[in-house]
């Protein structure tokens, strides 16, 4: 005989989002319990202690500045990556011959493991913000190029033909046919570009161990201060989640005209 489900289970069955929060909360409880009683405190701090030591973390001289600079690098790298990606994507996508000849080169470059040339970026641009922005740009621009090219390519030829047969100028075709069709894929590209920028900037930040985020992660690891290390990494992860949510929201907002 089947037992009737408990009210809590029935309630959760209708709300998977709430159940997801429970899963996350359970993970934090496991983390708290294991860190408090089972793991060497030199290696892992419970979340309660991490949150309690956030004050000490932000009070550490240099940490707020390092986080601010990282946010600045992310913003600048994102803007540059999107601008370059948009211009390159349009230049490649709008001309069939250019696409045929140049696009494989872009694919080739995009397929290369860029992490191998990270030391070169430091060599050329120094250990400051410039190298991190540059590395973020090279990671972020390729996905934007790909999606812009794909977006332009998906344009139905009939739309172009009919616009032209009705006497639309080049600019009018771009403004009223190409641009609106590109918008959804452009914002999808921005989301992928943001993932790339986050990866590139954070890799470069972690690589340079004598300044910025990389200096503090190295310092906290060597001094066995897991609470501060977790706090710093958690803050950066929160930053990444926030920026991802921002571009995702822009994508759903600007991508929905076609469905309507």
């Amino acid at each position: 005989m089947k037992r009737a489900p408990s009210p809590l289970r029935a309630y959760l069955a209708r709300r998977p989002g709430l159940a997801r929060l429970f899963v996350i909360a359970a993970l934090f409880v496991v983390w708290e319990v294991s860190a408090r009683w089972f793991v060497d405190p030199l290696f892992l701090s419970p979340p309660s202690k991490v949150i309690a030591s956030l004050g000490a973390l932000f009070g550490t001289p240099g940490v707020p500045a390092a986080l601010r600079i990282t946010l600045f690098e992310l913003a600048v790298a994102f803007v540059i990556a999107v601008a370059i990606g948009l211009v390159l994507g349009l230049a490649i996508g709008l001309q069939p011959f250019v696409r045929l000849s140049v696009f494989p080169i872009v694919l080739l470059l995009y397929g290369m493991p860029q992490i191998t040339i990270l030391p070169l970026f430091i060599l050329y641009f120094g250990i400051g913000a410039a190298s991190k922005i540059a590395f973020g740009v090279t990671h972020g621009m390729f996905p934007v190029v790909m999606t812009v090219v794909a977006g332009v390519q998906n344009l139905k030829p009939i739309l172009m033909t009919s616009a032209r047969s009705m006497g639309a100028s080049r600019w009018q075709i771009f403004r009223h046919v190409i641009f609106p069709h590109m918008v959804p894929s452009f914002f999808a590209g921005m989301r992928l570009g943001m993932s790339g920028v986050l990866l590139g900037v954070l890799l470069a930040e972690l690589y340079v161990s004598i300044a910025g985020i990389g200096y503090f992660t190295t310092l906290f690891t060597q001094n066995f201060e897991p609470a501060k290390l977790l706090g710093l990494i958690g803050t950066l992860a929160a930053m990444a989640i926030f920026l991802n949510a921002l571009v995702r929201r822009a994508e759903t907002h600007f991508g929905k005209w076609r469905a309507g």
């Binding site: 892992l44 080169i105 397929g111 493991p113 030391p119 390519q153 990866l199 972690l206 990444a240 991802n244």
Partner: protein, 256 residues
Amino acid sequence: MTAPPKARDAWLSRLVQAAFLAGLALVWYLAATRWGVNRLLLPNPVAVAQDLFEILRSGEYIDDLETTLGELAAAFSIAVAGGLATGYLVSRSPYLTKVFEPLFAGLYAIPIILFLPLFVLFFGLGPASKIAIGAAISFFPITLNTIAGFGGVDRLYVTAARSMGASDYHLFRFVLVPAALPVILTGLRMGFTTALLAIIASETLASFAGLGHRIVSLAESMEIAPMFAYIVFVIAIAAILNAFVSTLEARGRRNR
């Protein structure tokens, strides 16, 4: 806009690509020899080619290559086992899919390499931390694609097989797996690529050995020509590995 490319266009586009690569090599050569770019910033491509040849001939790369490939094999095996099992279990229930799929997708959107310092703290600077972070990063695409693969199997197939009396095993072996395989194989290929990148990245950021570490140590001792040679070597290795798994993926799709 999407007129089929003419043969002449295809031929011309190859020419443009060859000219681009040749032009790049020429600019590199001229910049290094004629235009007085500092040799510490840009080595002569001829010297790089000689160093690359020397590295290949002497076999000095073998230890680092073994380290990196060993880490990759271990990390990928763990991620495949964990990802396929988790993905399959979650995909069995639409409810669990609704609960866990956004969680995995959200975590996957964070650059997980950010957690490398924690992995180093737990597992040390040796291969263990590389294996752990490689497995952690490649777990996500494999799991997400396994969920999508099994979740996307048409209910009609399952009902039809059941009505013809298929057992659980037969249903799994002859309906679910063949239907889900293309998506899962894509996940495995993505997982492999991300594991490779994660391992080279973590070797670059913090380690004693491996190809990523070799590039960094040459950069730190300002041996720029051998460093370029190793960069070319690693890019070639990555290209070979990626071509290999893409071939396996295509073959797996055909033979299912």
